[in-house]
Assembly symmetry: C2
Homo-oligomer: 227 residues x 2
Amino acid sequence: METDTRTRILDAAEQLFVRHGLDATTLRMITAEAQANLAGVNYHFGSKEALIEAVFRRRLTGLNEQRIAALTAFEEAAGGAPLKPRQIVEAFFGVAIRMAADRNGGQTFMRLLGRSYTEPTEFVRTFLAEEYAEVIARFKAAFFKALPDVPQEEFLWRFHFMMGALSYAISGTEALRMLGPIDDADPEALYARLMSFLIGGLRAPLPDSVAKHIAKPARRPRAKRAA
Amino acid sequence: METDTRTRILDAAEQLFVRHGLDATTLRMITAEAQANLAGVNYHFGSKEALIEAVFRRRLTGLNEQRIAALTAFEEAAGGAPLKPRQIVEAFFGVAIRMAADRNGGQTFMRLLGRSYTEPTEFVRTFLAEEYAEVIARFKAAFFKALPDVPQEEFLWRFHFMMGALSYAISGTEALRMLGPIDDADPEALYARLMSFLIGGLRAPLPDSVAKHIAKPARRPRAKRAA
DNA sequence: CCAAGATTAAAACATTCGTTTGAAACCATC
DNA sequence: GATGGTTTCAAACGAATGTTTTAATCTTGG
């Protein structure tokens, strides 16, 4: 036993939560997988709820710190000027995709996280809301500054949609198989694919109902479109 | 008691599954909500698993039939010519959004469905895969015909991302509140928002790694972009 | 080396779960 | 209005859950 019991339990719980969900994963499954005693969970964490929070907190805090660090770096390089939307997307979603590709780090965790935004369980939702509060505030401000012409409500919806696409990108490999044989082994390709899609969706023309109220300056030519 | 026990159980289960998830919803919660006896579930459906399948099947079959009907209508109007991507998106995602807005029909159900594509439970995934098999085959064929220049694997990923955005659009109102105060009461606005985002993502420039292999004809001018 | 604290172990705890049982109540048909 | 099939009901079933308890074991500082 090279690692201590506490981390073995966290690792086992993380894996099993991804495979079976939070509720369907029992403490006995976790302690068996971790080669620990059943009572160890309540000794080290206090309860199953507290264990779940610990599993999330262990990696989520670092992820959001990376996000904020990436955003801050862009902002300092820009020196007060608004960032390009692509940079903000990169800082938020790109960091997540990279973490999802890190086999030693949060690969399994990101699968879990991606499915948890819409988690029905009450305490998980409130817990995640607290963990995300700061990073969301920072990125909302950056986006609003970068896209002053887009109504804020409109943007929040698009951000929400982008979260959905991210969630499926990292957690939905099972659901993907429903679509047919597909290769999900290349994280670099996934990164490129998701970024293209997100930018495309973010910068799509506004719905007619709101677009007509907004005047737009000319824009520089862009790359060829997919379809 | 105007409706019969069987449908009261289905309705109660549907609501509670959305609110608490499949596992966390107990048969006793369901029968209490439905004002039915505990044994009624096993009498009418046989088991909890069978009840879950019945809840899904009751509305999912009709939804996918509507999708196929909408696609067929477009195809017949086109008379053998490839459809516009927008039409195919409308037939698949638009129908879903409309059903999600139908307060008397599948509003609560669509919330449940949106969260279930990434369901960890094994039998739900396999069950959904069967239910979706036909509609997926039809829409894949239509998309491939409409977008002959887009590599199929690339498109399947985009379709997957679009499913994620749809999922969040209809089921993630709780998660949305995390982003701040927002109005999710207007289904027409949601429809327009999601369609813009999906089309924008679908037609985004391909990632550089694949785009360089493809020559594209000129395209007609488009509406002003959001950002 | 040994006492004190931290950790692990085995067993049992009270609840709760999905399911089953067997009788009561209902309901249409003759 | 009796009959036979359908549905509801109260109660109990065994199994499994998270948690607690108590003792054994390991670890560590003096």
